[in-house]
């Protein structure tokens, strides 16, 4: 059951602002009703934590700087079951540390939002320079089979908008939602318009209201595996949650059968609702010879290449993924069946392109315009790939 309400005006800093993506993430979270932030400093994401720390006493929220990223994300699980909407922010090395407990959040179906302001890796890599190298980690990083939702904003305004969206998805599907932004968007100052609270819709937590002794934290709906309602500590439900495979009561069950039910639910609640979750922008796909598929900051470079290609008479479509996970499988499959080539520029050595290739399944050329990170593309590199694709 998804219940939408208007945002609490207390957290909405209404009006036009000139702010960077990191700050916009914090403002989006506050507008969405997040009042609990646990984080650890890491370039280039720290500004979000700083903004939250500054705004917390004004909005009745709590900011805590934890001892590391492991503690930060684990504190979110506590915060969420304590009844709050919760968020943290990090970058590559911190993300690596968080992964185990992102798995715990998936297993315990705990809603939370984690922003990864990506920087170059591996290891300490290029702390102050941009990258999109954690896209596969976002999807596969924690061990075991699970699903998360990942969004990729391309501007500070979209950082604000998608932060709200991320909370709404997290509450709807009881799942960690990752905002996979990058150093460029994080540190880019642009106009961000924060609408009045009355125009912001936020999804309220689906609270359980039935008899106390009958609450089952992991009982899911018959339709599309939708997760059931939540409760919070202190309300007398005396519930149990665990990272072990569990039954609908949350009790550990070390059996093949229990694992099948448990894991199928975690996967299907995302996969079978893919059409409701996936967001994208598509432009001039009809009749296109080549389509550029991109996300995040790279989309803003790609658009220049797309326009240049069109000027040269190449019918070029543009497809911007807003949701990267779950992957827009249907849409890419359809594009692949109609075009000569799909061009995939990313600031990594080729990650999301693997998904595009999987969907294309040989029906069209798939050209990866990859990079080792640190800077956005030169639009001419993408243009060259578009030309190569048409030939």
């Amino acid at each position: 059951m998804v219940r939408k309400v208007k945002a609490d005006p207390k957290g909405v800093l209404e009006g036009p602002h000139f702010m960077d993506g990191d700050h916009a993430l914090a403002e989006g979270a506050l507008a969405a009703g997040c009042r609990f932030f646990a984080g650890y400093p890491i370039t280039p994401s720290t500004e979000t934590a700083e903004r939250f720390a500054e705004r917390c006493p004004e909005v009745g929220g709590l900011f805590i700087q934890m001892e590391d990223e492991i503690a930060s994300v684990t504190a979110l699980i506590g915060g969420a079951w304590g009844g709050q909407k919760v968020m943290t922010v990090t970058s590559g090395p911190g993300m690596s540390l968080m992964l185990e407990n992102i798995g715990l959040a998936c297993m315990t179906e705990t809603p939370m939002v984690i922003a990864n302001v990506q920087r170059g890796g591996p290891s300490t890599g290029l702390p102050t320079l941009t990258a999109q190298q954690d896209m596969m980690q976002a999807r596969w990083g924690s061990h075991g089979d699970y699903r998360v939702i990942a969004l990729a904003p391309d501007s500070p305004q979209e950082c604000f908008d998608l932060a709200i969206e991320a909370f709404n998805l997290a509450e709807t599907y009881r799942v960690p939602v990752l905002i996979m932004t990058d150093e460029t968007v994080g540190h880019m100052h642009e106009k961000v318009v924060i609408p009045p609270a009355s125009e912001i819709e936020v999804v309220e937590r689906n609270w359980y209201t039935g008899p106390k002794d009958q609450y089952k934290p992991f009982k899911f709906g018959a339709e599309n595996y939708m997760p059931g309602p939540m409760v919070k500590i202190g309300d007398g439900y005396r519930f149990h949650i665990t990272g072990l495979v569990h039954d609908e009561r949350g009790y550990p069950q070390a059996s093949v059968e229990a694992g099948k039910i448990n894991i199928t639910h975690l996967i299907e609640k995302i996969d079978s609702n893919r059409d409701k979750i996936v967001r994208f922008e598509a432009d001039q796909l009809d009749g296109a010879e080549v389509v550029v598929v991109s996300y995040g900051i790279t989309s803003r470079i790609a658009i220049k290449a797309v326009m240049d290609a069109r000027k040269e008479g190449i019918k070029t479509g543009n497809f911007r993924m807003i949701t990267c996970w779950p992957f827009p499988e249907k849409q890419i499959r359809e594009i692949a069946s109609k075009v000569k080539a799909i061009v995939v520029p990313e600031i990594n050595y080729g990650q999301m392109v693997l998904e595009v290739e999987r969907m294309a399944a040989g029906k069209c050329k798939v050209i990866s315009v990859n990079s080792t990170g640190g800077a956005v593309h030169d639009p001419n590199e993408i243009l060259a790939a578009i030309k190569e694709g048409r030939s």
Partner: protein
């Protein structure tokens, strides 16, 4: 004849309000000390008069980590070492709750050591109970940070050449404001200390030395659970208030027990509120007020408004 073969044993057991009886019998080995500590915890909660609905319990991974799954409270079985950050999140999101961490020595002070020292440093208002059996039980008897020097473990098969932590000293050095240690034989004293810890405002730490019969006892040829309790009976010395620098445990040596530290210091949340109230002033709205506090405030506000109207 004063003995009952009770068909309703689980329901009539005084622990039934406290344990998930449908999950009994538990997985712990014969002679393991964890069950005793759980009973002592239950007794402490009963004696404290606290509302069971307002206590949450968090465990990490390992034998002691299974406690959360057996206790009929809001209960969280988290990942290895991460019970304290999860408890921190619970406490800060819902400060009305008493939050208790139940952890083993390896879970709490090896993989979770960083969280332990920082929660103590912040004087986070949680209670941490550590069942210290000197070994990793669940994974098969490896060395932990508390395994005494020279003791045998499966990863120190020729004896432990590392120096162990003395947990009360560690907690003290990091700023914990209540510290006690007992052995699992001191069931009533454990219960008394946990009751005090629950009522203590701030980071409270109760260490319980307990037998791991299957691994630590057996590997070191120390006999079974009864032999361990006999060792505790002979070699535990009550020393309330003893300087925590003097409470380290040598292999099969004396075990100093008692309440070592009890002091008052503002908690993490006290500091958040006091500090903001000071630097921001009256417009700062205190974070995490309890329901009665909020109600009292609303009433006072209404009264003062009524007076103003007169």
């Amino acid at each position: 004849m004063n003995v009952n073969a009770n068909a309703n044993f689980a329901q009539d057991n005084p622990m039934s309000q406290f344990l998930r009886m449908e999950r009994m019998p538990h997985i712990w080995c014969p002679g393991c000390g964890i069950g005793t500590v759980v009973t002592a915890f239950a007794e402490a909660v009963k004696k404290s008069g606290l509302d069971l609905d307002k206590i949450a319990i968090v465990s990490g991974i390992g034998c002691t980590g299974r406690t959360a799954g057996y206790v009929k409270l809001d209960s969280f079985h988290s990942t290895h070492g991460r019970a304290i950050p999860l408890a921190t999140g619970l406490k800060l999101a819902n400060p009305e709750m008493k939050v208790v961490v139940f952890s083993g020595d390896g879970d709490l002070t090896s993989i979770g050591g960083n969280h332990f020292i920082h929660a103590a440093r912040r004087n986070m208002d949680i209670t941490v109970v550590c069942v210290n059996n000197f070994t990793y039980g669940m994974t098969g008897g490896q060395m932990t940070p508390t395994t005494p020097h020279t003791a045998n473990a499966s990863t120190t098969p020729y004896g432990n050449y590392e120096y162990p932590f003395s947990l009360p000293f560690l907690a003290d050095a990091c700023g914990a404001t209540y510290i006690a240690r007992w052995t699992s034989l001191h069931a009533r004293q454990i219960s008394g200390s946990i009751k005090e810890a629950l009522n203590h405002k701030g980071f409270s730490f109760v260490e319980v030395i307990a037998p791991c019969t299957t691994l630590y006892q057996r590997r070191n040829r120390l006999g079974d659970g009864l032999d361990a309790l006999e060792y505790y009976q002979n070699d535990a010395e009550i020393a309330h208030g003893l300087d925590t620098r003097q409470v380290d445990i040598d292999y099969q040596g004396k075990i100093k027990v008692g309440k070592f530290v009890e002091k008052q210091k503002p908690t993490y949340l006290d500091n958040v509120n006091q500090h903001y109230a000071q630097v921001i002033g009256d417009e700062y709205e205190l974070y995490g007020k309890t329901t009665p506090e909020k109600e009292a405030e609303a009433k006072a506000k209404a009264e003062s408004a009524a007076k103003g109207a007169v």
